[in-house]
Amino acid sequence: MSMTLLQLEAVSKSYGERLILDRISLKLAPGQTIALIGSSGSGKSTLLRLINGLIPPDSGRVIFQGRALEGDQNYDYRRQMGYVLQEGGLFPHLTIEENLGLLARDQGWNSRAILERVMDLIGLLRLPNDCLSRYPGQLSGGQRQRASIARALFLSPPLLLLDEPLGALDPPVRRQLQDELKELFRQLQCGVVLVTHDLAEAAHFAHSICLLEAGRLVDQGSFADLVERSSCSFQAMLHSHRALPC
């Protein structure tokens, strides 16, 4: 069995004249976390969409579990990846329970199985039981993010795609969730691609950090590697962050 969960081979994408991603290649092993970090407009969210098959690459290949992504009707493919947006992307007209079970219901699970899985997940993400019958608008920001991560984990996907999942949270809530999630990812042994613009967060989660600059992958490695290499790009990134971890 291949030890690569996800592989990008020289993937490029442009919108009209504008080159968004320029020959990006990277690999992710199961249970590992990659952080994509860069300023806004560096192409990190686009890269995430591309991995999820929401948009096709202009050239290059996205290979997930040994299978190259083709076409644009990739529902099966997407169900193997949990996806969490910055604002969570929970549907405001559905209760938390309905939001969590939406995909499983679509897959024909019976309601008993759905409920069992829902209860597992709210335990795992430390959500109170009474939030199940509430609507997303009635939860706190932290609870909403926990719920959307629970939804992303519903079908036990081998890969999680997180687009600034903690970006909208207050610092204390954020720090607590960071610790919990790191532990959770370790327990579940799923691969994670995390988009963030926060170097501290990237350092906290990721085995490997990818530095993106104007669509190009300019530096990659563990936080320690990056510090040691201290490339120009990394220096620039450091300057833009006053607070460092540790």
């Binding site: 169900r79 992307g89 608008g137």
Partner: protein, 477 residues
């Protein structure tokens, strides 16, 4: 929402189909009384008949007769020659032949000529010794008051002014009903009347003889479809010559001034048992049912067409502008014009009304659906897609529910418009709250006006409230 649609469609199942000979009448008392008489007469000869009362004006009735929506209706020879055939000089024989070519039969005169005449207070006429119109030219001091239409019509004031060389300078344009008041109180000396007006006898007026035959003849006749000649000719012709001018005026008076129903007056004249007129509760129950059906069915149809159209507008960018433009344009057609326009295709009755109401309901529904879908936040769309929901699930569980508040808002607007506009449906015999309103206008009776206007307003408010509640329940998040 599907449940609501089903309910509306079920309601439509109760929509009655016309049975027996369809007798029509225009929107004024005399025509309605005659319609009742025709109906009763047919029933007395064991021919099942139904009266589609106060359907509107000449054009509506004539088109309905040609289209077969009705089988017979009372008409006047003058109206046929002047307004329908535009040949004022046509003789009766020729008229009969021309009508026959169009498949229409005509009975001999019912016995009265309902034309224009000039009326005066009896006392004033006696004082001046006036009995004929030709004598008027010797009294230039007389004050005339005429309806606006009479002042303009070629066979009205311009004609008598030239035929009788009338010198009068004081000629006021006024409302017909107000003119009676002015005449009785002495502010006017001479006004035009219809020879069978109920007020003539009531106020004791005298009519001046049209001794130079300036006014065209408006002999009352019955028109019927020749394809039903075998059935209709004999019983209808039995009525010929039986109703003179004073008789007709008395019948009009009984309805207009004594507030008896047309059905009662007609039955009494034919010597039949007088029908019980239904009580207020029964009438309200019936008109509410009819009104609800009109509104419900047309909304259901508008939904069936409007929702997919709105979705199409959303899915295909190029389609939105022309489609919304078109349904918006339909909205601007005056309702009465649309009803008359649809008449030749879909005939009299609820069908045409429902068609028109559906067309009016389209715009808010299409726009609501389109707007609702367009304004779903991009992040939610992306979230649904990224989850891996199938296209069908995305549509049913995410897009539609998120667009629903805007769709319901569109439905609310459509429903309130429909409740209001449906009152016009009575003009083409579709029933509903418009019927008492129409009768109220015709007879100048406030109680009847209110009998239609108040429940219609209440229904509009209820509909607004109910859809408002629905919207509220959708705005949980």
């Amino acid at each position: 929402m599907l449940r609501w649609l089903l309910l509306l469609v079920l309601l439509s199942a109760g929509c009655a189909r016309p049975q027996g000979v369809q007798v029509g009448s225009k929107s004024f008392t005399e025509s309605v009384v005659l319609g009742e008489i025709l109906c009763d007469q047919l029933k007395m000869r064991s021919i099942p008949a139904e009266h589609r009362a106060q359907l509107g004006g000449t054009r509506v009735l004539w088109e309905a007769l040609l289209a077969g929506s009705i089988d017979a209706y009372p008409e006047y020879t003058g109206t046929l020659t002047q307004e329908i055939l535009h040949q004022p000089q046509m003789e009766v024989q020729e008229l009969r032949k021309t009508l026959a070519n169009q498949g229409v039969g005509m009975t001999p005169s019912l016995g009265f000529n309902n034309t224009y005449a000039l009326g005066m207070r009896a006392e004033r006429a006696r004082q001046l010794g006036l009995t004929k119109m030709s004598q008027l030219k010797h009294h230039p001091e007389l004050r005339f008051g005429f309806g606006h239409e009479f002042l303009r019509r070629q066979d009205g004031w311009p004609r008598i002014q030239s035929v009788y060389s009338l010198p009068q300078k004081q000629v006021a344009g006024t409302d017909h009903d107000l003119a009676y008041e002015a005449l009785v109180s002495g502010q006017l000396d001479v006004m035009e009347v219809y020879t069978t007006d109920a007020e003539i006898e009531h106020y004791g007026l005298v009519l001046l003889e049209d001794d130079l035959s300036a006014f065209p003849r408006y002999d009352a006749v019955v028109l019927y479809r020749l394809e039903k000649q075998a059935l209709l000719q004999t019983p209808l012709e039995e009525l010929a010559g039986r109703l003179d001018r004073q008789g007709m005026a008395r019948l009009n008076q009984q309805v207009r001034l004594q507030q008896r129903s047309e059905a009662q007056v007609a039955a009494a004249w034919l010597g039949l048992d007088q029908p019980e007129s239904p009580g207020l509760g029964t009438r309200l129950w019936r008109s509410t049912g009819e009104h609800l059906r009109l509104v419900g069915i047309s909304l259901a149809i508008a939904c069936l067409i409007g929702l997919p159209l709105g979705m199409l507008c959303h899915a295909r960018a190029g389609v939105a502008r022309p489609v919304l433009g078109f349904v918006g344009l339909v909205q601007t057609i005056p309702s009465l014009a649309l009803l008359v326009f649809l008449l030749p295709w879909s005939g009299l009755g609820p069908r045409t009304a429902i068609l028109a109401l559906s067309l009016y309901a389209l715009f808010p529904i299409v726009q609501g659906t389109y707007h609702g879908l367009q304004t779903i936040p991009g992040a939610l769309r992306e979230s649904a897609e990224a989850l891996g929901l199938s296209a069908q699930s995305r549509w049913l569980r995410v897009d539609l529910p998120l667009a629903l508040p805007a769709i319901v808002h569109g439905l609310q607007t459509a429903a309130v418009i429909a409740v209001g506009t449906a009152t016009l449906a009575a003009l083409i015999g579709a029933g509903g709250y418009g019927e008492p309103i129409l009768t109220g206008v015709r007879l100048a009776r406030t109680d009847l006006l209110l009998e239609g206007a108040v429940p219609s307003a209440v229904m509009a408010l209820l509909v607004q409230w109910a859809f408002g509640r629905w919207q509220q329940s959708l705005r949980r998040a």
